[in-house]
């Protein structure tokens, strides 16, 4: 077991610390995050593998939809205006499903933030994941924090050139692969990859790759934490999302203060000393370059790497883990009250411990119950309600529709035998990837019959129309009612469409206009 004087103090300082805060137009202070290890780091590796896996592999999944539709599981087919997601196919007029998913994503973000803080930022945000990936490359090539700092301040040499060129080259390759993967969501991936490499893909594919390569390289490699701090609105919004029962990464100064690098000496001098040995491990690992001991701040993405770093130190010192931990503001305040005897004194570590050195029973600990509070129930309820509505609407949606446009100019035509004719544009929507025969029938409008342009059959009240798979069929329909049958200037009737094979049907109520005087 190490004595706390044996823990190496790292030369690290928060870039935004109040003492040294520079005007922001001064060049960005470079951050050299040290490699962290611990349970949160392992969890982040896992999340990174899953999210990157989903991003890169999804376009390559296949899903058999029969011979009349693409077999790519997830495909945004802009040319044909169709969106495929496994067993779901969405037409443009059904875009509200996507809107619904965005609403769910929004409410889900509120729910997650109000319970576990900025978990989205810390673990799953693409900016975080890609910065993490770029840092892996940087560490592999240039070494960990100290080596990188040395390299950065050192003069240019052949070695530095080689390291820098190879780092940026690998970053660019990753960036190009990121941009490259994006385009596969918009076309058949196996076909497109061949086209991309033989130079025969559409210009827009190359433009997309170029733009996304540039943004990935710039954001992930060059700008990193600046994107979160200056470009992203979420750090500003989070204040409204967090409450006193939200878990956030917290430095527990009620047990850490007064911090000291020479605890034994200070103790021997009869002064109080807390658990924090001021080793700066938490600052050194921070990808945002901040000091969590300054309190909750907008730069903090709650990636929890400082928890891993501090826990490692506490283990070495033989102290309890959790000097930096996920904690709620209410627990923190309660414990702070214990440590300061209700705020009457500065933090006194002896107040939180019993005589034998264990934590006092008066300390508050997080309980899972705190997650279940009215606010989270409201978010959860709204989230589930939108989800259930979408699901219900998805399961009961029509895959056969009819839309009718009545000719307006002229509204009606008197024919030589005195009968009245109205024209309609009837649109049959066959929304499944199979050819179907749709029976179009008139309901109501006594004595009237219809004829369809391009179909050489005698006028009738019902026609069977073959419709191509996954297509809209437009029909020009003339409806003719004998003079003696006309009842009024505007009669309503229905166009009914039916698929006899699947018993699906739809109806459209149309109007039949006639002049005031019919022969």
């Amino acid at each position: 077991m190490l004595d706390n004087t044996q823990v190496e103090r790292l030369e690290a300082e928060a870039v935004n610390s109040a003492k040294t805060r520079q005007p922001l137009y001064a060049a960005r202070k470079k951050i050299f995050p040290k490699r962290a290890s611990g349970s949160f780091r392992r969890f982040k590796w896992l999340v990174m593998a899953i999210t990157l896996g989903i991003y890169y592999l999804t376009p390559w999944l296949r899903w058999d939809r029969g011979p009349f539709a693409p077999d790519q599981a997830v495909l945004v087919d802009l040319a044909n205006r169709r969106f495929y997601f496994f067993f779901i196919e969405i037409w443009p007029q059904e875009f509200y499903y996507v809107a619904g998913l965005l609403v769910m994503a929004g409410i889900g973000l509120f729910l997650i933030t109000s319970t576990v803080g900025r978990a989205w930022c810390g673990y799953t945000c693409p900016q975080t994941v890609w910065v993490d990936l770029f840092l892996v490359v940087e560490r592999a090539i240039e070494g960990d924090r100290n080596a990188r700092m040395k390299l950065d301040t050192g003069p240019w040499s052949a070695r530095k050139l080689v390291l820098r060129v190879s780092k940026h080259a690998i970053w660019l390759i990753i960036a190009a692969a990121t941009g490259g993967a994006w385009i596969f969501y918009f076309a058949d991936a196996p076909t497109l990859i061949g086209e991309v490499f033989t130079g025969t893909a559409a210009p827009i594919a190359y433009i997309t790759i170029a733009v996304l390569t540039a943004t990935t390289y710039t954001f992930g490699g060059l700008m990193r934490e600046q994107v979160c701090t200056y470009m992203c609105p979420w750090p500003r919004i989070q204040a409204a999302m967090l409450d006193e029962n939200s878990l956030t990464v917290t430095y527990n100064d009620w047990r850490g203060e007064p911090r000291s690098r020479h605890a034994k000496k200070v103790q021997a001098a009869g002064q109080l000393v807390g658990d924090c040995v001021d080793c700066n491990a938490c600052v050194a690992v921070c990808p945002m370059g901040i000091d969590i001991r300054d309190g909750q701040q907008l730069e903090c993405i709650t990636c929890a790497l400082c928890i891993d770093a501090c826990d490692g130190i506490m283990d070495k010192l033989g102290k309890e883990r959790g000097l930096i931990s996920y904690a709620t503001l209410s627990d923190y305040n309660a414990n702070m009250a214990v440590a300061t005897a209700g705020g009457s004194r500065p933090v006194n570590p002896s107040l939180i411990r019993t005589a034998d050195g264990a934590f006092s029973d008066a300390l508050a600990h997080f309980h899972i119950r705190k997650i279940f509070r009215p606010r989270t129930f409201v978010y959860m309820g709204a989230w589930s309600a939108v989800g259930l509505m979408l699901l219900y609407s998805l399961l009961t949606r029509d895959r056969l529709e009819v839309n009718v446009l009545h000719d307006r100019n002229p509204q009606f035509v008197t024919l030589s035998d005195g009968s009245i004719r109205n024209g309609y544009t009837v649109k049959l929507l066959n929304m499944i990837p199979e050819p179907r025969t749709i029976v179009v029938t008139m309901k109501g409008l006594h004595g009237a019959e219809m004829s369809i342009v391009g179909i050489d059959l005698p006028a009738d009240r019902s026609f069977a129309i073959p419709v191509e798979p996954d297509r809209l069929k437009m029909l020009k329909v003339f409806v003719r009612q004998p003079a003696g049958e006309v009842r009024g200037t505007a009669q309503t009737f229905k166009f009914r469409v039916e698929d006899k094979a699947s018993f699906e049907s739809d109806e459209y109520t149309a109007t039949f206009n006639a002049p005031e005087t019919v022969r």
């Binding site: 137009y25 024919l415 004719r421 024209g423 003079a483």
Partner: protein
């Protein structure tokens, strides 16, 4: 600055502006932001050099890369013409029957004819080809000079009673006001009206039939069904070019009006005329 204010909490200078006790921190922008801002300025300068931009006395600067939105339109129109090319060529070489029988070609001709109709024909026939008194409705199934695609093409090509076209369709109904008596006109009008409806005084119908047999059958036929050779209308149907009813019929017997339609081939060319014929044939009354 002598009057610099420093915020107590953050230690940052303020702009000196204060609203209701709230003052604004003078946080300068990040350097990358400033650089981006300068890049946009440089871009704007380059843009105004490359593209038409600065207004001068008579026109704007042309821009060094020679871009012009008019050229864009010209090119797009040329591309659209080129894309239409094969359809236009097909319309040119085929008869109206062949065009009407070919789905893709018919669709093209209907669209092109519809556009030409909106420019050249709506003045008389109306925007929906619904006609009005004296101008035939082209949607119905009653045709003075024949309603198959070829007959429609002939009518559009040479016009009706259009003196300067030797092949124009010509016919003229005599003004019977100078040939038969006023009573006879009343009688024949009642007879004609009775063919498609009821009349006020049924006693006029029988003498009217006699007048009709003596004067009208030559053109309108024994059964009053008309004759498309002479553009003589069918008098038994529900469609009346100059209005229904005995009074309108009597007026037309006494001193008939004769509509004139210009020959269009000289102005529009054969291809356009064919497209128009196919379009009109598609309106629902084509034979």
């Amino acid at each position: 600055m002598s009057n610099e204010h420093i915020d107590d909490v953050s230690g940052i200078s303020t702009t000196g502006h204060e609203w209701d006790g709230i003052s604004e921190l003078n946080n300068p922008l990040p350097r990358w932001w400033i650089i981006t801002f300068y890049i946009t300025i440089a871009w704007a300068i380059g843009y105004t050099i490359a593209y038409p931009a600065w207004p001068m006395l008579t026109s704007a600067t042309k821009g060094v890369i020679g871009y012009s939105s008019r050229n864009d339109v010209k090119n797009e129109l040329a591309a659209a013409e080129a894309a239409k090319g094969k359809f236009v060529a097909a319309v040119q070489s085929k008869t109206v029957w062949e065009i009407a029988a070919d789905d893709a070609l018919r669709e093209f001709a209907v669209a092109a004819g519809g556009a030409a109709f909106k420019v050249n024909c709506v003045q008389c026939h109306g925007s929906g080809a619904q006609g009005s008194s004296g101008f035939p409705n082209l949607n119905d199934d009653d045709w003075l000079w024949g309603g198959n695609a070829e007959q429609i093409q002939q009518t559009i090509t040479h016009g009706i009673r259009f003196a300067s076209d030797p092949d124009t369709r010509v016919s003229e109904m005599p003004a019977f006001g100078e040939i038969i008596t006023a009573d006879q006109i009343k009688q024949v009008s009642a007879y004609v009206a009775s063919l498609s409806g009821s009349v006020q005084d049924a006693s006029l119908v029988e003498p009217g039939a006699k007048v009709f047999a003596e004067n009208c059958v030559a053109c309108h036929g024994d059964n009053a069904k008309g004759n498309k050779e002479f553009g003589a209308p069918d008098l038994t149907d529900a469609i009346w070019l100059y209005g229904p009813g005995e009074a309108a019929i009597a007026s037309q017997v006494r001193g008939p009006k004769h509509g004139v339609m210009p020959a269009w081939v000289g102005r529009l060319g054969e291809t356009k005329v064919k497209e128009l014929a196919v379009y009109i044939h598609s309106l629902g009354g084509g034979e």
